[in-house]
């Protein structure tokens, strides 16, 4: 099939990685650049309940989100910002809704850009409305409407298009619910990668016809789901070491969008982007301590370390005592970005980066994995097997296991019995897996289709 595969890292050493700086910056209209020496704050707000009752209402709703965000941006003096609209079902399912909402928001941003000279951008994240269990992932009406929605958004003023595709979800969910690391690896690393290629080749092609960047795709359905389910330190629903492994695997998968031509800023919620950036050097969006409206992650500072776009996570659209949420949360991310930009401008960025990292590096094994020096190691493991999606995902997981084990052995990271036991168990399963992609897939295909009724092999050409 012949897409380009990364077999080298973008940076020579981890220390080269820094927030606001990407090896391959990206430009967008309205004067904005990503990874070009400054961090861009981002805000996203979920359309209000009931706003889906008509196209007109939804458009108004999106327009007012843009208006409120932009108004606050100039009122507190932000030099630049990115507005993201994560599509709700209707914006993708009815592509003309997506287009009209984009147009309304683009018009607001353009007005502010013209009036104040503020740099801004508009990201539209289409929803993956495909249902594997209903006709599969390819060529259905669902699948086609996504392509159309992308086109509508690109045409109507979006500066970039992102997604959170769900390839592999059926198998992955089965695995994460049961602590079956092989299923997780198969779901994210193999099936996810296959579907990403299908999805992003097309998305890149569509975007190329417009003044719109194909941004990329985070592993929400894998890395983020698992992190969310793992929860806080006292959570009992999934092991945090397991969540770290899933995230390492997801980096190998999310890389595929870039291999298909996505340029960044990569989408955020899977938190795998530090690893991906180390490999391909494109700008990344990240979320953390200003996404408390939606997540209780355990690494809110660390994720700033190499971010080019700093974001919240979709929040209710409503009033706070301090005003409407689009402004409130843009102010939150805007001020954090401002701090990073001061550090850059005064030559102290690397110190601030390391402070961010150290604050969470040993708060949780997920932080240990993602600390940029460790993430860099995992990235290295991925490119070593870069040509083979399965092997590189497996290598990522194994390197992640090593990283965590070393930190534990060095008594820097403490682990509970459950975390340690599950790490050891998962590691030995991973180690025992075949070194040939085909054999691994064969083995999985013998087992999972019959166990998982929603799994549709033909969606992956299997």
């Amino acid at each position: 099939m012949g897409i380009f595969r990364y077999t080298k890292l973008a940076y020579r050493e981890p220390d080269e990685m820094l927030f606001g700086h990407a090896k391959f910056p990206v430009s967008a209209h309205w004067g904005l650049q990503f990874g070009a020496g400054y961090v861009v704050p981002e805000v996203k707000v979920a359309p209000e309940a009931g706003s889906e009752r008509s196209k007109e209402v939804m458009v108004k709703e999106c327009e007012s989100i843009a208006e409120q965000a932009a108004g606050r941006a100039v009122d507190i003096g932000l030099p630049a910002f990115l507005l993201e609209q994560e599509h709700v079902y209707q914006q993708t399912h009815f592509p003309d809704w997506g287009g009209a909402c984009t147009r309304a928001q683009a018009d607001v941003l353009e007005r502010f850009h013209n009036e104040y000279g503020i740099k801004c951008g508009l990201r539209q994240t289409v929803g993956d409305t495909r249902l594997e269990e209903r006709g599969g992932l390819r060529g259905t009406d669902y699948d086609n409407e996504i392509a159309e929605s992308i086109e509508q958004c690109a045409k109507n003023g979006a500066s970039d298009i992102a997604a959170e595709t769900m390839g592999g979800k059926s198998v992955l969910d089965y695995g994460s619910m049961r602590g079956d690391i092989r299923a997780i690896l198969f779901g994210i690393g193999v099936l996810g990668s296959i579907d990403m290629e299908y999805f992003w080749k097309r998305a890149v092609r569509i975007c190329s016809h417009y003044n719109c960047n194909p941004a990329g795709d985070t592993n929400c359905s894998g890395a983020n789901s698992v992190m969310y389910i793992a929860g806080g330190l006292l959570g009992k629903d999934f092991s945090h070491t397991g969540a770290a492994l899933a995230r390492a695997i997801s980096a190998a998968r999310s890389l595929v969008a870039v291999e298909c031509g996505a340029t960044g800023p990569l989408k955020d919620c899977g938190y795998e982007n530090t690893i991906v950036k180390a490999i391909c050097g494109v700008p990344i969006a990240q979320e953390g301590k200003n996404a408390v409206c939606a997540h209780a992650d355990v690494m809110g500072n660390l994720t700033c370390q190499v971010a080019d776009v700093w974001s919240n996570e979709s929040v209710f659209h409503r009033e706070e005592m301090g005003g409407p949420t689009p402004g409130v949360w843009l102010q939150a991310t805007g001020y954090e970005a401002a701090l990073m930009n001061t550090a850059i401008q005064t030559g102290n960025a690397k110190i601030l980066r390391d402070l961010y990292t150290l604050t969470d590096k040993y708060r949780d094994p997920q932080g240990t994995l993602l600390a940029y020096d460790n993430a860099f190691r995992v990235a290295g493991a991925i490119v070593e097997y870069g040509k083979d999606p399965y092997l590189r995902a497996r290598a990522a997981a194994l390197e992640c296991s090593k990283v965590i084990t070393e930190a534990y052995d060095a008594k820097k990271l403490m682990l509970t019995r459950f975390e340690l036991d599950s790490l050891n168990k998962y590691t030995s399963v991973l180690e025992g897996l075949p070194m040939e992609s085909e054999r691994f897939i064969d083995e999985c295909m013998k087992e999972y289709p019959k166990r998982i009724p929603t799994f549709d092999p033909k969606s992956y050409g299997l």
Partner: protein, 274 residues
Amino acid sequence: MTLDWESRENTDFVYRRYNVIVEGPAIKPEDDKDVKKNMPPKEPFRELALAVIHGDSDRAREATKTALASTPPLDVIEKGLSKGMDAVSALYAKGAYFLPDVMLSADAMMVGMNMADAKLGKAREKKGTVVSFVAEGDPHDIGKNLVVMFLRSNGYEVVDLGRDVPNADVVSAVKKAKPVMLTGTALMTTTMTNFHHVSDMLKKEGISLPIFGCGGGAVKRDFVESYDMGVYGVKAFHATKLADAAVAGKTWKDMRKEYPKIVGEFVGEYADRL
């Protein structure tokens, strides 16, 4: 400081002072084109209006004294002072005037108006009466004070009940004053609930009050619209437009629906009502 900003250039990446960046050239208020259009061309009215526009109480006192010597008091108010205040409202609405300017103008206007009223001898007919209060348990009264100031300087009689006002007192004031509108202000989660109680009490008394406008801190539109008669007020100066509408016969239901139209500007909180 250990770090020194001045040693680096690009603060532009950290913040931009848009207020400075977009500032237009300085002009005198009376040279503003909307003001010019509505300025009374002749004396003594022009001078009266100018005194108000410049928020100069002493000048207003002088000008009123002079004017009253030759002009009927009602004309002094309506053709002079009020025109000045209209100009001030326009300047404030378009962002050319700041709130303290408006306050000083209102003060100057009141100085002249009181003198004219005194000369008039009998009570001048007001546009209508409004009762204003801050909810029981709530000390926040800046918003209410602004509302009162705007209403008064726009020709309304205001019964100002002050702050921390028991609900029963509000109801009896309404019974007594028969206002065209009642304005309540509250800023806290646990005091705004009094609006609801007052509404219920008024209903029980069979009083059908056209409006009940409230705004502030924790108070949001959906809360205010959760009880009868409630209209969510956004900016203090909207109170005069709402009162005008009430005088013109608009009900609280109309006001909810037509708020932006009534106050004559885009209002974010009512973005879905346009």
